[in-house]
Amino acid sequence: MFFFTIILVFMIIGTVIAIETRNMLSAVIAVGAVGFGVSLMFLYLQAPDIAITQVIVEVLSLIILIRTTTYVDNEAIEKRIDNLANIIGLVFLGLFLAFCYWSFAELTPFGSPLMRVGEYYLASGLSDTGAANMVAAVILDYRAYDTLGEAIVIFTSILGAFVILRTRGRKKITEEDLEKVGIPE
């Protein structure tokens, strides 16, 4: 328990650095540090599947974020300080934390989950499906429809990204266009 608290405090410090710093490369690296902290928490919460996935997705998202930001513009300069948005944000944060504290009294305490369906999946996973990894049995046998929905969501988002990024228009590319972008002949 003490170990979890230490890693969560480290993640809070990393988040504050990622929000407030002005250099964009430092902000992206701080987000990477928070992601690795999350993966370490997953490992100690006895979820090795998810720890592997989180590390790998963290690396790929760092590559994508670095390509979008530091390639062109490295400083985040705010021309005028908007006090109203800051104050509203902080007030909302305080209200949100107060409501969380009141409503977490209704949850089951940390370390003793309800597990009504989980007990059935653990007890008869091997005899129903034949798989030794219970998480794989849940994804691909008991709840395979959710996996189909997830594949559709990824498919659609990548298709949307392609539609936005394509520059091949209807007209032919002339030499003026090539000169504007800066590609030599």
Binding site: V38, P48, I50, I64, E78, F104, P113, G118, L126
Partner: protein, 116 residues
Amino acid sequence: MTVFMLDMIIFGLGIYCLIAKRHLIKKIIGMVIIEYSVNLFLILLGYRMQGIAPILSPGQDIVEFAKKGVDPLPQALVLTSIVIGLGTLALMAAYTIKLYEKYKTFDMSEIRKLRG
């Protein structure tokens, strides 16, 4: 309970960053922080004290495994949620690149002023 509250502090900081900052990349960073915090919260709900991972090894007793294993259902849902988060980040990065190429700035209030 303290673990849940610390996790919700990270969520609240992510929403603050999404609302109050005007740089587009800071908004993307805010959304990424929100996703991390929500995935972590779901796994924290399913943890059992001194539990073992929900993976069966050969020669293990199944009744004892059902008494000591952690909950596999939130883990299955968080697994898909992490990869969906990556797809969403790719879409947001595509928008940001296109906006920067057209308006030459990342500041949201400048983009709102320029028309066409």
